[in-house]
């Protein structure tokens, strides 16, 4: 897309140059790049060859698609959609049936090693992949074909990144993450969260267009710019946490005053994402901002290890260990003390029955 064309396009949609640069500056901010990167980003978005995207949906709720379509900055979503070529996207494309399938196959064939695969949803390997089939082929098959030939694969949402809700115990369909379903997949980037934040997906693509490389990742292959800090570290309620001011019940005084949700089960201390900074819905607000604890949606196994959501410590396969550990622990310590006391009584009895070594022996040692 030439500069001229993009300019026209922006104008046609009522986006001023100023708004566009504002968008580029906000992308630089999300990416943690200096202000000076704004121009490079603008140039890249305007002039660079559009990356070709194939967006696959498997065991998902289309939440990431929804999130992406409603990307922040009104109509800048469209802009990004226009500056990438979304060749295949089941929810968005007009084509259907075998027509759609052939578009995907053609794109893969003609652009081997050049396109970007985006995967939304987990991939089941139960029943030989039969739990999720599209056009008669299993998700497993399609994922291996499409991701196998991609320059990079972006797993959007926790289901694609880590298995997510479909993979929660007992994982009836054998749901897998992209990393597990497509072993050896090249340049995998996990954009976990439920759903992935559109701002972050957009920023990732902008990063790639600008710098021609993928950003540094954490150990779960998530970009550090979005997952480098915990929710807790950037939380606006953190001062209340450090002070020791906690919500004890929904709607109590502390809750009305916006104090810390730690005791209501907030998983912010165990969850890495930039929600407090980027927020949701065009920066309107975010869960903790409106009084709800973080659910830990961006972490591996979140459904299994972050639940119960309104309790701080987790359940373990049906046993609510987190809830009972303190009363049980305290009782066991008490029990140990009681057992010791009883044993002590036994010892005293034994001593009085003359069964033990007489005290005088100690004196013998001091000779």
């Amino acid at each position: 897309m030439s500069r001229h064309q993009l300019g026209d396009e922006l104008e046609r949609r009522g986006i001023s140059r100023r708004d566009f640069l504002g968008f580029c500056a906000s992308m630089a901010a999300v990416l943690g790049l200096p202000d000076t990167a704004t121009n490079a980003i603008a140039a890249a978005v305007e002039n660079e060859a559009r990356p070709i995207l194939i967006w696959l949906e498997f065991q998902d709720c289309a939440g990431n698609t929804e999130s992406f379509l409603r990307a922040t900055h009104p109509t800048v979503a469209d802009l990004i959609l226009d500056s990438i070529s979304l060749n295949y996207h089941e929810t968005l494309m007009a084509a259907a049936g075998s027509q759609a399938e052939s578009v995907r196959q053609r794109t893969v064939r003609d652009n081997v090693g050049k396109y970007i695969a985006v995967v939304e949803g987990s991939i089941p390997d139960g029943a030989d992949g039969g739990y999720c089939t599209i056009g008669g082929r299993s998700a497993l098959d399609i994922a291996r074909e499409v991701c196998g030939g991609a320059a990079a694969t972006i797993a959007v949402g926790t289901c694609a990144a880590f298995g997510g809700i479909p993979a929660a115990a007992p994982n009836p369909t054998g749901a897998l993450s992209v990393a597990d379903a497509v072993p050896g997949v090249k340049n995998l980037i996990n954009m976990s969260a439920c759903p992935a934040n559109a701002e972050n997906i957009t920023a990732l693509i902008v990063y790639y267009m600008t710098l021609k490389q993928w950003p540094p990742l954490d150990q779960y292959r998530r970009p550090l710019f979005a997952y480098g800090k915990t929710i807790h570290d950037n939380c606006e309620r953190r001062a209340h946490f450090d002070a020791g001011q906690f919500v004890e019940a929904w709607g109590d005084e502390a809750h009305r005053h916006g104090q810390c949700l730690y005791k209501m089960g907030c998983k912010g201390p165990a969850t890495s994402q930039n929600c407090p900074v980027v927020k949701w819905n065009e920066g309107t607000n975010w869960p903790i901002g409106c009084g709800h604890p973080c659910l830990g949606c961006a972490e591996p196994n979140f459904w299994d290890t972050m639940t119960p959501f309104y309790q701080r410590l987790p359940e373990v396969v049906g046993f609510n260990v987190g809830k009972w550990i303190d009363p049980v622990g305290l009782s066991l310590v008490g029990l140990a003390a009681a057992a010791a006391a009883f044993h002590g009584i036994g010892e005293v009895a034994r001593h009085h029955l003359g069964k033990t070594r007489p005290i005088e022996d100690k004196a013998g040692s001091e000779k």
């Binding site: 915990t230 450090d242 002070a243 290890t305 066991l332 034994r350």
Partner: protein, 223 residues
């Protein structure tokens, strides 16, 4: 029966014991608060730092604790025979017999205690167990610490521990359960120390301060 004075606990054993004692008390008190913040303070937030202080003290105590555990582990290889590795694992025949004897003694079936100058075999086994728990506490603690430390902190090398425990929340739960196991051990341990001091009167209680025990001559020579 004559008792002989034997030097059993060298300085590193005694020193690490008491460092561990004080750090564990501190870690348990602050850890319990972190897990279960029972003190709530009035507004404004800027005037208080209760949780912040608890966490800071927990982390400083954790440094003392970890270094003491490492020192004690080193002394498993460098210490005298009573401090060594082999003391803690009842593999030899006489140690197994001592284990059994101690058990019978505590069960009121036998009436003469095992007078071995070092840890009796049953106590030693419980210490081996508690050393394992120490390592679990350190590993889960370090896993939890990776998200507290800055991204450029050298402590990030421990981030591989997080998936090992199936995520931070499971690490947290294990860490929390570990505290109760340690505290149950502590109650039993202190009871048995006093028991053995009062009933066996071989100077067990004093030994962890002075290093010396008083044991029957024939036992002192046992190896």
């Amino acid at each position: 029966m004559t008792l002989k004075r034997v030097y059993v606990w060298e300085l590193p054993v005694r020193l690490t014991h008491w460092l561990l004692f004080f750090s564990i008390l501190t870690l348990s008190a602050t850890g319990y608060y972190i897990g279960h913040p029972f003190i709530s303070v009035p507004s404004p937030a800027k005037d208080h730092f209760v949780m912040g202080t608890m966490r800071a003290v927990h982390l400083y105590a954790a440094i003392v604790f970890t270094l003491a555990v490492l020192a004690r582990l080193y002394w498993l290889f460098a210490g005298n025979r009573y401090a060594r590795f082999s003391e803690f694992i009842p593999l030899s025949l006489w140690r197994l017999r001592s284990l059994w004897r101690t058990f019978l003694y505590y069960s009121f079936i036998r009436h003469d205690p095992d007078d071995y100058p070092g840890h009796n075999a049953l106590a030693a086994l419980s210490y081996a167990g508690i050393f394992m728990i120490y390592l679990v506490m350190i590993a889960t603690g370090l896993a939890l610490y990776t998200v507290i430390a800055s991204a450029s902190s050298p402590f990030q090398v421990f981030d591989f521990l997080v998936p090992l425990f199936n995520g931070l929340q499971m690490a947290r739960l294990i860490h929390h359960i570990g505290m109760w196991i340690v505290l149950i051990f502590v109650v039993a341990h202190i009871y048995f120390v006093f028991l053995s001091s009062i009933i066996e009167h071989i100077g067990t209680f004093d030994s962890i301060f002075s290093g010396y025990k008083f044991v029957p001559e024939k036992e002192a020579e046992r190896s």
